[in-house]
Amino acid sequence: MARFLIKRLFSATLTLFAVSVLTFLMFFALPRDPVTGMCPKNCNPERLERVRDELGLNDPLVAQYAGYMKGIVTGRDLGSAQGGHCDAPCLGWSYVTNEAVSDTIARVLPVTLSIVIPAAVLWLLLGVGLGMISALRRGTWLDRLAIGFSLTGASLQLYFVGAVLLIVFVYNLRLLPVPSYTSIFDNPVKWASGLVLAWVSLAFLFSAIYARLSRAQMLETLSEDFVRTARAKGLAKPKVYGRHALRAAITPVVTIAGLDVGGALGGTVITETTFGIQGLGRTAVDAVRSGDLPTIMATVLIAAVFVVLANVLVDLLYAAIDPRVRLR
């Protein structure tokens, strides 16, 4: 177990390192000079050069990268134009927003969490529930309805669903306010009403996928010998399905859910754009548009961290569910 964790964390670190290097290289090749973005009109060449020097953009690439990584681990001193000392984890200074990137992240990360976590709960409950029911009632109208639902959901686009929901609930019926983010600690009702459309549309699309997946898993499990054994013991159907079949069927669903949630935490770009909510994804998009290198780096890295951590967690979870899996 300990050995597994060490090995797994080592390979995760390696992956993250590779991601950071790749992103760094990719965005270093970004032709737009970040300094040009900082002073739009009245910059003379000398001033530009001075700022560039201050930012370390004239240093060799390796030195820049090393400085950046050092900042994350130990913090580092940035020029006075960038707010002086920057504590670990220092993600640099954004020339565009004029704030420390870590502050930006701290501001937008809760937004994305607020979108993803309730949505994930919703889509798992809905998707798995629907899949199970449809597997148990295979061939009935209920099953057909669920299949239709999941096929439709899998074929719909989030921005389209979002748009329709906005038209109906916000603009026409005026049941909900225009989507926005309020901290749950400030006003839980506003928090929920501002995000509920995002949850519903995300959950609708994802639950379609999960319904299909869990239906297939459940059907496969139902044909397993141990389910027959459970019935031969005289267990009532709810127990056979709930305790014996469900636990085995849910395992692969959990795996995929872990990875999906991990991916979504890195930024729900489309959702945030559709509903105009400034989360991690939207921040990343804005950063790319304005050539805000430190913010791009930070968002990409955070997204990668979520994916990699989700991978490790899923492995652990799998071992917790299935006693046959030995971590080593």
């Binding site: 027959r228 054994t229 031969a232 013991k233 005289g234 267990l235 085995a248 046959r324």
Partner: protein, 368 residues
């Protein structure tokens, strides 16, 4: 069609181990004219087509057949494990005097695991991989003893594990199936089946997945437990050797129908159906002339979706021509032979069968 109205009984003195059953003679399980039909996309499949048999407490019925003979379908029908939406079951299944066909699912469920239990071929896939062996056994106990506490169920499960020959049962209780060896898993499976002391135990190829030395242990164990618990056992197998070792009565199935039925002595020593002859003469044996050719049955086992007309065995039968077209057109009824309790479904005349066996079969195969 002739039906065995009384339980086919072995010759007196066949098995002296079960004396009192012979006296009261009321079989615990009596199946009459059982038919199981599946409607598939390829047409109607008559997986079991009019099978009758009976088993008394303390006795063992061996059901023999190849793949597709309907032997497993029969046993699942007895337990009521077929999906009612897909399988149509007709006929009579009397368990301890109660007709199971048509009984509400809930009532059948109450009987499953308590009055009748089953062990399966592959214990690794038949046990739930995520739960400990002990938990699964305790669960089987608690279903039918709702008032039993956790501790009582655990104690009962540990006792059963010990009874089936698993050492250190208290420690083994908390292990998962994958931590058991193949033979131990089958023992655990047996412990689970017997935890409620059922009167009927159905064993579906319980030793096929096991090594031969372990198979011997398991067969011994079943015999011991039967002597102790006095349950009726149905042993489903393709292996005539296993049947000869454990069965009191034998039912030979082919293409979903019973072709021969009688005491083990009658079926294996004085068989009257050409299919049984074929099985016996094609089994490799440890005795006799090793250099002589085996005498196989020609052709292949039939598909239940496309069963030959008339006698299902006729395309493979060496004697089918002796009855003109009858073999092809008419399904032979399971009729009594000269001996009490011995039934055969064959168009050949009884005297001819006896003669054929003596002259052509008895000197080859197992009897040689």
């Amino acid at each position: 069609m002739d039906r065995p109205e009384s339980a086919p009984s072995g010759q007196p003195g066949d098995r002296p181990s079960v004396p009192e059953q012979r006296a009261n003679g009321d079989p615990y399980l009596r199946v009459r004219d059982l038919r199981v039909r599946f409607d598939t996309t390829d047409g109607v499949v008559r997986a079991v087509d009019g099978v009758s048999f009976a088993v008394e407490r303390g006795r063992t019925l061996g059901i023999v057949g190849e793949s597709g003979s309907g032997k497993s379908v029969t046993s699942l029908a007895v337990l009521g494990l077929h999906d009612a939406r897909r399988a149509t079951i007709t006929g009579e299944i009397f368990l301890g005097g109660r007709q199971l066909v048509g009984l509400p699912e809930e009532e059948v469920r109450q009987l499953r695991g308590r009055d009748m239990a089953m062990i399966f071929q592959d214990p690794l896939s038949a046990l739930h991989p995520y739960y400990t062996v002990g938990k699964q056994i305790a669960e089987a106990y608690r279903v039918h003893h709702p008032r039993a506490g956790k501790r009582e169920a655990r104690q009962r499960a540990v006792d059963m594990l010990g009874r089936v020959g698993i050492p250190q049962p208290a420690r083994r209780f908390d292990q998962h199936p994958h931590e058991f060896s193949g033979g131990m898993r089958q023992r655990a499976m047996i412990a689970m089946a017997l935890v409620n002391d059922p009167d009927l135990l159905i064993a579906d190829e319980p030793t096929t997945a096991l090594d031969v030395t372990v198979q011997a242990q398991i067969l011994d164990l079943l015999a011991d437990l039967q002597a102790e618990f006095h349950s009726a056992i149905i042993m489903i197998t393709h292996d005539l050797g296993v049947v000869s070792q454990v069965a009191d009565d034998v039912l030979v199935m082919y293409g979903g129908r019973a072709v021969e039925h009688g005491s083990v002595e009658q079926v294996l020593r004085r068989p009257q159906h050409p299919y049984t002859w074929g099985l016996l003469s094609s089994v490799p044996s440890l005795h006799g002339d090793a250099d002589a050719d085996l005498v196989p049955i020609r052709g292949n086992p039939p598909s239940l979706i496309n069963l030959p007309s008339g006698c299902a065995f006729h395309p493979r039968c060496r004697y089918a021509d002796r009855n003109g077209d009858r073999s092809r057109t008419e399904v032979p009824a399971l009729s009594p032979t000269g001996e009490a309790g011995h039934l055969v479904a064959c168009h050949l005349a009884a005297e001819e069968r006896v003669r054929l066996y003596r002259e052509e079969i008895a000197h080859v195969g197992v009897a040689r």
